[in-house]
């Protein structure tokens, strides 16, 4: 009999939020780039703006719902991404061993990580802060720019553009590494579970300190 040991890494609430992020942020990034470079005609640009606003509203609603319905998960995420140690410096010194693995086909020893590695923590910080800035500034610029002083509108526009580009440029890296770590990809997109052996290799501290058996044959 073959026993496959699995850990629930991404609970349903997190996966639901991630699905909504996918369907809202991908059109937001695409239309954001179009709105920045303005390569299309007037009607196409108007359509891009309408899609941008609709996807932005969906993102804001999803973030608001996650804030209210999964506040404990949000706080856990904040705690994890803002918890640092010397291992994070060591991880960044070798970039998690990814360049060696991808370019040289060589596996090197990497400092033990928790649920998120140092690169994922950096990405998480950018998503958390950048996402909040994008939602708040986007809402203000879309709903009531006429009530804001001109300088404030310009400042919010600059912030929106900066964080929009930051997250848009992070997106291909996130997609590549997400698909590269195929078990984690399947967990986030499908069932939420990753093999214990995989978790033990990628997130040994998480497995060691935070994991307990749930039940058998579920």
């Amino acid at each position: 009999m073959h026993h496959e040991l699995l850990i629930l890494k991404h609970p349903l609430r997190v996966r639901m939020f991630h699905y909504l992020l996918i369907v809202s942020f991908l059109p937001l990034a695409a239309t954001g780039v179009i709105l920045y470079f303005k390569p299309l005609g007037e009607s196409a640009m108007n359509l891009a703006m309408q899609i941008h606003a609709a996807a932005g509203a969906l993102l804001a609603l999803a973030a608001g719902a996650f804030f209210l319905l999964a506040f404990d998960r949000l706080l856990l995420f904040v705690k994890r991404i803002f918890t640092f140690s010397l291992d994070d410096v060591r991880w960044f010194a070798v970039l998690g061993g990814y360049p060696q693995k991808l370019l040289l086909g060589r596996k090197i020893s990497v400092p033990p990580m928790g649920k998120y590695n140092s690169g994922q923590k950096l990405f998480g910080i950018c998503v958390l802060i950048g996402g909040a800035v994008l939602i708040i500034s986007g809402l203000a610029l879309w709903a009531f720019p006429h009530l804001l002083p001109r300088a404030a509108t310009a400042y919010l526009g600059l912030l929106h553009t900066f964080f929009g580009w930051l997250l848009t440029l992070f997106l291909p890296v996130h997609l590549f590494l997400g698909v590269y770590m195929v078990d984690d990809f399947k967990a986030m997109i499908l069932h939420g579970r990753i093999p214990l052996a995989e978790a033990g290799e990628m997130s040994p501290r998480w497995v060691e300190k935070e994991i307990i058996p749930l039940s058998e044959n579920q």
């Binding site: 699995l6 629930l8 706080l75 705690k79 935070e210 058998e216």
Partner: protein
């Protein structure tokens, strides 16, 4: 070969009550800051408009002559020189026509 799953899960709560209150407070405070900032600048923008409006009303209230037809100089102009309001002479003298003065500026 039969495939059997054994499930593991995160040991909840991974956050203590103290951490929950502290981190929750910081998150809510950081989200409230920009909202308060935007509300403040919108209010200050309206304050400026209200102050300007109040100043204009104040100027009006203090002004001895508030309308052109009550202006003694204007009345004297029509009485002694211009004839009647909207008359031919006044039209010729007081009405202006558009002249494009930007041509000389573009070079």
């Amino acid at each position: 070969m039969e495939k059997q799953s054994l499930s593991y899960i995160e040991n909840q709560p991974a956050l203590s009550r103290r951490e929950f209150i502290t981190i929750g407070g910081i998150v809510v405070a950081f989200l409230a800051l920009p909202v308060v900032w935007i509300r403040t600048i919108v209010a200050s923008n309206n304050d400026y408009i209200r102050a300007r409006t109040k100043g204009l009303y104040q100027d009006d209230a203090r002004a001895a002559v508030r309308v052109s037809h009550a202006n003694k100089s204007v009345a004297r102009y029509y009485r002694e020189f211009g004839g009647e309001p909207l008359g031919h002479l006044s039209h010729e003298l007081l009405h202006t026509s558009y002249i494009n003065r930007t041509k000389g500026l573009v070079s």
